[in-house]
């Protein structure tokens, strides 16, 4: 194991402790007369200088963030097999196109004639996503997947209201991501759980009992969070539609069938797509993402405003539409993220997109094949782009999934998703995605098998992991019990 010294990095507020005046950036010279603010503004509103907001030099800023960056693991470093996150390569060409001044330095309220290229890009991406999903409408406004879910549910609510109906319930499987019931509640519905059948998919019998005129929608992830395709999807959609409900599809797992199947043929009425998953836009340490929503004919009239319309003279923004649910966030969407997604789609083309799901599914099945036996597989049905093991073999030696995850850090890999979905206790959800070389997937499997052995022969080693990371196991209980979310001047004395 090779090592190098990494200094622990002080907080910005701990730098320059004597608070000497330094300069981090040279501002444009003031070429107009100075004005004393408190002579013009109400003096009680003018800020006093803050002695605890230091100044540091440019190199200090650079070194501070450089050292901080070295404490992070990232996709560029190695496999990041987080189930349901689709941690694929973030192409550098995306970063170039997103930084073109004609995109990055564009104000959203410039006159229409000055923004034709931007409007065109939005329109092109909408068209591409409509083709990829086989659905007739799209909005690119939502800022993230959860935001897209909310948008979709609101459109369903509006469609029902237009029909003169008001329904109270939204159904979601027990395996659903937490955003699903949270979204339903946020939209004023009561979220009801629908149980999974023995094989991990939706129990059609239960759906038959629960689907009635009080239910507005069924929220489904396809394939579900266990990586299993809802093989009865057509029966499910028919059942829900025939009783006046809608199908909301959570598109988090689109990477498993992009180019091979169409949600539009599955009966989806609204589906959100995570551009930061399937379409390679970077995760950024926690955003920004983008969650466009594609819709069926039934929901087409209710898309959010403003909409991009293509006319004879070019593109324009349409702000008013009484049938629309309204505006979901400021302006038009996370535009610079949209630029990256369109770059990705155009770069890959039809065959390239299809091969991503081919290899994503192939890799996940390779992992399944190699780890089966060493780790317990609760649902043995064929899975697509992700596979969910659990720690029930290892718990015999008092090693839990958390310990396995922390030990993986010592092998130089990011751990899989843990403890989700809730239907599998002690879950380890693994999604390799298609970007890495086969050797990287095999190395990950080698590491997992080694840890399974360690759990048997030296469980203490696994339980006390990680040993080779910038910090040891972090005390999350203490963080919650003794809440400290900012630096304060009192810390200076310590």
């Amino acid at each position: 194991m090779k090592r190098r010294a990494i200094r622990s990095e002080p907080l910005f507020f701990e730098r320059n402790p004597r608070r000497v005046r330094r300069q981090g950036y040279l501002l444009p010279a003031l070429d107009v007369p100075e004005v004393e603010p408190s002579e013009v503004l109400p003096p009680e509103l003018v800020r006093e200088p803050d002695p605890h907001f230091p100044d540091i030099s440019e190199m200090e800023v650079v070194q501070h963030f450089h050292r901080l960056s070295q404490l992070n693991y990232a996709v560029d470093e190695g496999l990041y097999p987080l189930g349901s996150c689709t941690m694929k390569y973030n192409p550098r060409i995306n970063e170039e196109t997103a930084r073109l001044p004609g995109f990055a330095s564009l104000h959203p309220l410039q006159p229409q004639a000055q923004i034709q290229g931007a409007l065109r890009l939005i329109w092109e991406l909408e068209e591409s996503l409509k083709t990829i999903t086989g659905m007739p409408g799209a909005t690119l406004q939502p800022a993230a997947g959860a935001h897209g879910e909310f948008t979709g549910i609101l459109m369903i609510r509006k469609a029902l209201a237009t029909r003169g109906e008001k329904r109270d319930v939204v159904l979601a499987p027990d395996s659903a991501h937490g955003t699903n019931p949270a979204t339903a509640t946020f939209a004023g519905y009561r979220a009801q759980e629908i149980p999974s059948a023995e094989d991990g998919t939706v129990d059609l019998g239960a759906l038959d009992r629960m689907m009635d005129e009080t239910v507005a929608a069924l929220m489904l992830t396809v394939p579900n969070t266990l990586g299993l395709f809802e093989h009865q999807i057509l029966e499910i959609a028919d059942l829900v539609h025939s009783r006046g409900g809608f199908i909301y599809m959570d598109g988090a797992n689109l990477n498993s069938f992009v180019g091979r199947a169409l949600p539009g043929l599955m009966g989806a009425d609204a589906m959100h797509i995570n551009l930061h998953k399937t379409f390679s836009t970077p995760h950024g340490g926690g955003g920004p993402g983008a969650g466009p929503v594609t819709v069926s004919e039934a929901l087409l009239p209710h898309l959010p405003v403003p909409k991009v319309i293509r006319g004879n003279d070019g593109f324009e923004l349409q702000w008013n539409d009484p049938a629309s649910i309204g505006q979901m966030r400021g302006f038009y969407g996370n535009f610079l993220i949209l630029v990256r997604a369109l770059t990705y789609i155009w770069s890959l083309g039809a065959e390239g997109l299809r091969s991503t799901s081919d290899v994503a599914v192939l890799y996940a099945n390779l992992v399944r094949h190699r780890l089966k036996g060493a780790y317990h597989l609760k649902f043995d049905a064929p899975s697509l782009h992700e596979v969910v093991f659990d720690d029930s073999i290892q718990t015999r030696y008092e090693v839990r999934n958390v310990d396995i995850a922390k030990r993986l850090l010592d092998y130089g890999f990011h751990p899989p998703t843990m403890s989700f979905p809730l239907v599998v206790h002690g879950a380890l959800m693994i999604e390799p995605a298609e970007s890495v070389a086969p050797e990287e997937v095999e190395a990950f499997c080698d590491a997992m098998l080694a840890i399974a052995k360690e759990a048997e022969t030296d469980p203490g080693l696994v339980r006390s992991a990680p040993h080779d990371t910038p910090v040891g196991r972090v005390d999350e209980v203490r963080a919650a019990r003794n809440l400290k979310v900012t630096w304060t001047p009192e810390d200076e004395g310590a």
Binding site: L45, H52, Y73, G102, H283, R329, F331, V359, Y363, V471
Partner: protein
Amino acid sequence: MHPWVGAGLEDRLHILSELGLKSIDELFASIPEAVCIDGLDLPPARDEDWIRRALGDMASANVSMDSIPCFLGAGVYRHVRPSIVDAVLSRAEFFTSYTPYQPEISQGTLQVIFEFQTLISRLTGLDVANASLYDGATALVEAVLFSHRVLHGKRDLAVVAETVHPMYRRVLDTYTEAAGIEVVVVPPGTNGRLDPNIVREAAGDQACCVAVQSPNFLGIVEDLPQLAAAAHDSGALAVEVVTEAVSLGLLTGGGSFGFDVVCGEAQSFGVAPGFGGPHLGFFACAPKHLRQMPGRLAGETVDEDGTRAFCLTLSTREQHIRRAKATSNICTNQGLMALAATVWLEAMGGSGLRELATSCFARTEELKRRITAVGDSWRIAYPQSPTFNEFLLIGPASGTELVEQLASDGVLAGVPTTDWGGAWPDGLLVAVTECNSARDLDAFVAALENLS
């Protein structure tokens, strides 16, 4: 085959034989035939040069804010972007990493969030701040829903100033309709400022919050201490919305005047205008309400050796644990944008931020002074009301017409209020920042004179 798909054709065959399969299609057997297609109706793969040309053409069909004197504001501002901001953002350890759920290998991201939270806290005057929200408009939405929760859902009315950005109010309407909250809009007085007595009346004893923007949509600075008092007299929470974050470099944040929430848009802190997104919402509140606060939160703790470390905390409020009872359904925040703001603010430093804000203010005062010398066809709508770096200008035609005419004279003069109507005249919202040199001001004034 494609560079972004890691397995070549032979790799795939090799893995298939290891799995005992003949073709990849067998792995997709669980998908019903009826929903499958042979392939997508999309063009073929494109190489990087093709991409550069195609995307470059689309970008060139736009007029960038840097290419002509620009005075646009109304929620998105052009400020300096130090080269180091983008350099730091481009580090793969920052932009290709995931949400820091494994703190042991995410201390970089977590410490940045902690520093961001502290910076926002110091600027707003409130002790706790979250790791960011989508944007200013949704931050306002979250503030209203937060106030509703804090008061246990017992008050269903929200009082919102008409001079809160009209677009923010439109977005708010979309959400309050679903939440069963009624919004009452209070217009400004003839001086473009809110009257605290009218606010007090509108809030009565029914409002869960009073939301005001300062500087407001017309660029005017509001009487924050009086407005906080008016809200509290009614038993409502006081919410300050900020759309031009740089104003906090010169103006005291509402927390110091008793506001319960200060929230808004931090795009001015080093985030590219980007045609409206991604931007950077922020949210700060008092510690007693911490458990009701939406969004992610980084906290300080130690590792098993007692070394200081950071981790996400209070996750139980969030959707992945609380599910149906979450405080919000936000999952992703704007992590990379928060990093941009942190780099920008730390490069500016306390003194630099103040100097930058003062520069914006001085240039705005200078432009206003010169405009009053131009002639009768132009006037400042609210000449007596204090502004920071934005003001409403009335001219010889509608705002939309003026903007087109001045643009053809080579100046992006402002955002027309023609489509953003309210208790104010139709004109141009003019924003001035440290990026507007004296020559820019010359060009602006010359363009006005040509049009008189």
